[in-house]
């Protein structure tokens, strides 16, 4: 879905950031729905979303030309400075591909070397081409496209062939958890963008927390153990998150 949002575009910092969408003007759907920005072009933002429940079902009913009440840009960004002496491996799974795709496109534009791994259940969930020669690897659980299995299969392969790899991931909690365990084991650094239920996206409800491994107070979070994904996230160092 594409939308014209000049004000947000102006303040945009980069991949990782998201917008918070009021999908229904009535209280039929009380809370906004957060969606990562999947791309930005002039005044236009792109989001990619999967229809899961009421909110996203409502979102698909929006027509070209409709107004949408959105708040953003929200959150921090993938830290690209850290890529300097590293070879980034971008991993996106399920509804977490949006920020990864944006990052991929940004890096492609800047001709930065990187690998891209996108996982999904089945062929129909994909919209890229499986091109291992161009370092784009698609996986499907059912083997209908690309490599059969999860993103882990590809990751395990490519990670050994690269010098100083660094992982950038976004996707379902289960996927991130497996990646985290794997990376900590082999001592490879990484960043990941998290998701959670959100009421405000502004730091005022304290609803969107994640537990951190090292106690340390973030800028916007009230405590040291829990961090606000909407303001101090969604991007965290992979080792810092306790699932």
């Amino acid at each position: 879905m594409e939308m014209l949002a000049p004000n947000i575009y102006e303040e945009l910092q980069g991949p990782g950031q998201f917008i918070n969408i009021l999908v229904d003007e009535s209280w039929n759907i009380p809370l906004r729905r957060p969606m990562s920005i999947a791309g930005a072009n002039r005044d236009q933002l792109t989001i990619i979303y999967k229809v899961l429940g009421r909110g996203t079902k409502r979102l698909v009913t929006k027509l070209r030309g409709d107004f949408l009440n959105i708040l953003g840009p929200i959150g921090n960004i993938f830290n690209q400075d850290k890529f300097n002496n590293h070879h980034p491996i971008l991993i996106g799974g399920g509804i977490g591909i949006a920020p990864i795709l944006w990052l991929h496109n940004v890096m492609k534009g800047g001709s930065f070397q990187h690998e891209l791994i996108i996982g999904a259940k089945s062929k129909s969930d994909h919209f890229l081409k499986h091109q291992p020669s161009r370092k784009i690897y698609l996986t499907t659980d059912d083997g209908t496209l690309g490599i059969k299995g999860t993103v882990m299969r590809v990751l395990q392969q490519v990670v050994n062939q690269l010098y100083e790899p660094m992982i950038v991931a976004c996707g379902p909690a289960e996927m991130l958890k497996v990646i985290q365990t794997f990376l900590i084991d082999i001592n490879i650094p990484g960043q990941m963008a998290l998701e959670s239920y959100m009421a405000c996206g502004l730091g005022i409800c304290q609803g969107c927390v994640v537990e951190l491994t090292h106690s340390h107070q973030e800028k916007h979070s009230f405590g040291e153990k829990f961090s606000l994904i909407c303001r101090d996230g969604p991007v965290y160092d992979i080792s810092r998150v306790r699932f």
Binding site: A199, L202, Q206, V209, V210, F222, G223
Partner: protein, 306 residues
């Protein structure tokens, strides 16, 4: 232009539209988005003596016309609050009321005394009595009239500022608790806090909140808020501040008619943090087009013909 000013316990507020505790942070998070100086008052997130991490996630879930939360009073603690927020509040024109929570009488008192010493632009305290009282084995202060009275009395002795007691609707007789607060010296009552609720994710078979139970808020509870405010304003002589499901100027007027002197907007801030400011303008317009010149013409002006 109607006169939107309202007075509670001798303190005058520019208008009757406040933001509710825990739904606006400390005010600073959204001050770039919203002209917070237009609000009648800002009620801070509940402050406890020590910082509180709050409950594990998930902490929020949507429900029909509302939401459940179990934030668990996550807050930065009174010391950091004083260090970081008091200077910010000194720069505001809007009056600030500090919401205090605690699990013992002493904790409430210690927080109040610390703020009392430094509090510039702090016009009073809202006492959140919906916290489990550790001394009485976890029973909430807010479900017992005598406990509420004693707590209020203790705090009253230490401050001349506005003392507001915020009541929970999860009791058999809210007016009984309010009488305790009034006898203890409260200047006003605010009501309602959230209603106890729960919801379950049937596919994982887990509660949608890590704590199982949470607090229900939003339009779903507006009729409960209106009923409690009307009961309270009929039963006690101190001002009542109405809370629960307010999303529009019409809702504000409804609460005033039910007997509220002012109102607080909660959950609606999460959809639009600027809603309070918008509503103030709409209340003004409503008064103009309906011939009300002063908020006092609305408060309690319910027509009883039955």
């Amino acid at each position: 232009m109607a006169n939107l000013k309202v007075s509670i316990g001798g303190v005058e507020f520019n208008n009757p539209v406040f933001v509710a505790s825990g739904t606006f942070g400390y005010g600073n998070d959204v001050s770039e988005l919203v002209d917070v100086n237009q609000l009648g008052a800002i009620i801070t997130k509940s402050i406890t003596f020590h910082p509180r991490e709050g409950n594990p996630p998930p902490r929020i879930i949507e429900t029909p016309s509302g939401m459940l939360n179990s934030i668990g009073l996550a807050n930065i603690g009174v010391d950091q609050f004083i260090k970081e927020m008091i200077p910010y509040y000194a720069s505001l024109e809007t009056k600030v009321i500090v919401n205090i929570a605690g699990s013992s009488m002493e904790e409430y008192l210690n927080v109040l005394e610390k703020v009392e010493k430094v509090g510039e632009n702090i016009y009073g305290y809202e006492i959140n009595v919906s916290c489990p009282n550790v001394e009485k084995g976890g029973m909430e202060f807010g479900v017992n009239s005598l406990m509420t009275r004693n707590l209020t009395e203790l705090l009253r002795k230490r401050t001349e500022k506005l003392l507001i007691v915020k009541l929970s609707p999860n009791v058999t007789d809210i007016t009984d608790i309010a009488k305790g607060a009034k006898e203890g010296g409260a200047d006003a009552i605010s009501a309602i806090n959230t209603v106890i609720g729960m919801s379950i994710d049937i596919s994982s078979r887990k509660s949608n909140l890590a704590t199982k139970f949470g607090g229900l808020s939003g339009p779903a509870i507006k009729p409960i808020g209106i009923a409690n405010v009307h009961k309270l304003s009929s039963a006690i002589q101190i001002p009542v501040i109405g809370i629960g499901g307010i999303t529009s100027a019409e809702d504000v007027v409804e609460y005033l008619l039910a007997g509220a002197t002012a109102v607080q907007i909660g959950t609606a801030n999460f959809r639009d943090p600027g809603i309070g400011v918008k509503i103030i303008a709409e209340v003004d317009a409503y008064c103009d087009s309906n011939g009300y010149y002063d908020m006092s013409e609305l408060t309690g002006a319910l027509v009883n013909d039955s």
